[in-house]
Symmetry: D2
Subunit: 353 residues, 4 copies
């Protein structure tokens, strides 16, 4: 007799990230969505409440499921995916984590010393922090966080380069998609024929999270990597897909062709473990001059939206520097997809029992 699927709750199920959870968990081999949680949509059927933003049509089963308010103390599931806004997540993520394995996309607890901030291909060992977390908080459940969407694609691209060349400094400039701001998000009057050179709190988060994820894990803490990370963010008129230009300075000299191979060959535990949501290639390297482009490449790869697409890899100002442009789907690899991959890895490693 087969193992029945783990019952999952999605918190913030009507949002931009929530909608990706619904899509990606349909027909999932291990997880089944049984509980939908919202606030203004609570009391309605999902189909009535959700402002569906994509052409994908969600299955009737979910459309006809009611959305409930958050009731962490009385919830009965096996796993919780949280994509609540920061404030609500502050209140609720820990309450759910006290009882259930919880993976959260919110920024609220990402920098807590006992909370893993995970990209499964990059720092799976950081899951070891959960021992510290259990001891410190006495939870039956657990809390693991998925990073800021801009940090995710960046760190995936930096990781193999860091391992090969040891990055001293990364100077990054981003062009972020509108879905990254949630719904209703950016007013159309602000972005037509325009670029907004500011996203509150974003630059600080990306820098801090990058250094934490690339940081070394000692027995009970992560010490952030010492690399310098400068991020300048911008919002542009794209629906999905964050594009980032990165100027990287390294300790060891970089050969461009070798760097491309390093990126191309990058694999992690998810690929070894053949997790359902693991893309064959975490990094896809493109050779055409004018790639990656958001509309063309954001769904690239064997699990659409889970690969970081890198292009324009070339030398910087000297042979200890490299330039590259990367694209990451902000609500898939940048949120729901990465969180599902985290849960899959935890599942295989026994963390969800």
């Amino acid at each position: 007799m087969g193992k029945s699927k783990l019952r999952a709750a999605i918190l913030g199920v009507t949002g931009m990230v929530g909608q990706q959870y619904v899509r990606m968990l349909e027909n999932h081999p291990w997880f089944e969505v049984t509980t939908l949680v919202g606030s203004r949509s609570a009391g309605k059927l999902y189909g009535e409440a959700v402002e569906w933003i994509d052409s994908y049509e969600p299955p009737a089963r979910i459309m006809n499921m009611p959305v409930k308010v958050a009731e962490p103390e009385s919830e009965d599931v096996d796993l919780v995916f949280s994509s609540l806004p920061t404030e609500a997540a502050y209140q609720l993520d820990t309450k759910y984590a006290a009882r259930f394995p919880t993976v959260s996309d919110a920024s609220s607890y990402r920098m807590e010393p006992d909370v893993p901030l995970l990209i499964p291909e990059v720092n799976p060992d950081h899951l070891g922090l959960l021992e510290v977390q259990r001891r410190k908080r006495g939870w039956k459940g657990s809390l693991v966080t998925s990073p800021n969407c801009t940090a995710t694609g960046l760190v995936i691209a930096l990781k193999p380069l860091h391992d090969a060349y040891r990055i001293r400094k990364a100077v990054v400039s981003t062009m972020q998609a509108l879905s990254g701001a949630g719904y209703p998000g950016v007013p159309s009057l602000r972005i037509i024929d325009n670029v907004i050179p500011y996203i509150k709190g974003e630059e600080e988060k990306v820098a801090a999270e990058t250094k934490k994820m690339l940081g070394a894990k000692s027995s009970d803490a992560i010490s952030p990597d010492p690399m310098g990370v400068s991020v300048m963010v911008h919002r542009v008129a794209t629906i999905d897909g964050h594009l980032e230009s990165a100027y990287i300075e390294t300790e060891r000299p970089v050969d461009v062709e070798e760097a491309k191979e390093v990126l191309r060959d990058f694999r992690g535990k998810p690929q070894e473990m053949k997790l359902p949501t693991a893309p064959e290639r975490p990094i896809i390297v493109m050779e055409q001059d004018d790639r990656p482009q958001p509309r063309l490449d954001r769904m690239a790869g064997s699990v659409p939206g889970m690969s970081t697409v890198v292009g324009r890899v070339r030398r910087g100002l000297d042979d200890h520097s490299l330039r590259l442009t990367l694209l990451s789907h902000n609500t898939i690899r940048g949120a729901a997809g990465n969180a599902i991959l985290i849960a899959e890895m935890m599942h295989e490693l026994g963390y969800l029992e």
Copy 2:
């Protein structure tokens, strides 16, 4: 008796830059447009030929003027503004320059050792190269070039900072407007819900031109400034106005508030000479977090489109670094307006006789 206006020819008068010349030279105190030159539009009246891209309505006088083919050898004017495409400019700019003072927006001769590449506020002394040019080429006329539109705003912002702190490296990422690609330019199918991370030849030009304009002039040559300049360019869905993020490393320590003053206080010869097209403030510093923005700020200043608008000025990763975001109107300060300002300065300094 008043001095009659100098008669000016505009080469490439129907293009994106050409249309700005027409607008900015209407009612100019010193110059009068008497000759319109084009290729496919030759033989038609300007009003019939031009694909007007703006809401500004050009004066009937120009609309009813015929466009001619380029005839440098038989032309009869006092001054030539050239905004031809690169190839045509290779052929024609020097032919006009042999007989007339010519200011060109094309890239074709910008890097020639005896051709000044000018931003009047930044390197007016480079006009001295014209002596070398005269000796070398034996021209009656002259050729002065206006820079690449992305380089212009960048160099205006860098100049006062370089003078104050000595810039060692600038790592720049751009979000360039569609008018920068001329007409018809970028196909709409390529830019809706998209960003294009490549503009052929742009990165190299911006770097080389920046170093030339900030370079030191010896008696008969310019030696490019040794600063490192890395540029990563992108095309976004804006009509006008190039936005650029710059990470600057300096030799002397930088104080942010002082840096803003340095930028705010920047004035050059055009401001001293009160040239007609000189903006009161070559650099406008904005304090709001989310500025500058292309749609809101590209026409800022006393001569709309001639100021470089700078915002988000803040410390970099250490006290020898600075970050800022700048916006420059690519066809005004970035082309026609800057060229007109060059001609005005040459006029006042006696170069146009």
Copy 3:
């Protein structure tokens, strides 16, 4: 001694329409803005509160003026311009009108039998309803309404054609700009690479208001014109400027060239009275095939944004029909500008004493 300016309050001063009032009333010969009213912005200076949506920079005098909450009973002005949302206008417009001449852009009272719904060039005689209003409501002040922005341009174009040919039916399809939805308005995620074929309540309003404004005034009421008006509305990704295609059926046969003259020659009381905000030509007819276009033509005319620009005038399916495309600036002629024109006309006709 000159007459001092009438003191005007603007209700909803931070909104899309409010911002146009601020711009258009700067340096107005007869009116001076003395009171700014808002809700969430109350208590702040205008400059701090307003999310300025345009490149125009409002004068420091207004930027430094505080925004107050609505206090109709204690207000002290001579004239009130209201651009409140429907609900707030229901509550407040009549309270202000009880004491002051009030011109409102809100839909709340437009269809009231004793409230004029005015386009000064079209139905200035409807102002006569104010007698009925005064008798019925006993107000010291008055309430006149400005129409729905989509109805305004349509009715201006239909009026002279109706007078010349007697319109039996108008079948209209619109492409409406984003500013028409206020701020924050339409989420960007909804309109990039998209069209929304619905605006709640719009179709009904445009039809009803068109028939009221073209209706005949008896001594104490307006009987709506019997013409059939079908409106199908759509929201598109433009900032300002509603474009509308109209198929018109008439009782008398229509000659296309004559129809264009009828449109071109259309003048009204505002033009006769040479009111400050009256455009020389209420209707501008364009001959080019591909005009009018929002970005190019929305600010056309001697008072930018006050003219209705009409193009593609041609025969319908028979000689009792006509097709045309019209463009109207929705926050200028469609709201603030039309309201200011109403106030100007009332001023000259003695209604503001």
Copy 4:
């Protein structure tokens, strides 16, 4: 032994329509692409020549296939799909049709009396014209045309309503996507923050083709339906998917709910014959007020992009009128998909032998 697939040539294979052919014919059960024909791309491999406009990645087999110039006299295939521009199609379509069954998307021969203009669900009987064609032209092959993309969705929606209520007049206004203009198509500078109210020749084509397709076939000719068709076209900033508003007047009274059923229940020969590219529902009726929307609904249905999505079905000005909004994918149902469906029907009916 199974029937081997028919070998198909695609003329204009690098264009907007050509790219859809490549995608839709991959793994087709009956047809195999063996010949790629272009002009500027001739001599290159498809992968090098094509400016791929979509995120779909074409198969390596096609990417590595060479593009040839058009050589109708020496070609060796079983079936030809032509999506050449009008002028080239004038020259070439008939040359191919002389030897091969040819289905063309070009406008060039659509109105020829002996050339069927086909939507397989609507007027399959018009294929009977091929007898006339064979007699008249003595071709071994044949020519059948697929309609203008704007006419296709319109006629699919009108057909069942015409059969039920007999349409006297249709007043249509369109909002057409950018891919409809081919590549490079509409310059981005023309469509950002804009709408273009004109597409050369479009209005006339849509009207004439609609009347031909809904026309009655006598033994050797089609007499166009007498209904009046007025079309006003506009280009908007969407990538794919033409949206159209239609005001329909009928001879018999229309009940709205019944009309929706008529639309919903519409089936044609392709559905009966279960052709591979036939959508289960040629018309999908949506009940939500704000649908259909291009970005959300253009790929709706069992064969994405082959269904016409209809919404906002409601009464017109009287009970002999109806209003509705329809959406059709212009390069799929509007071109390549419809042409493939034509070929499939011809295949099953024995026309391709």
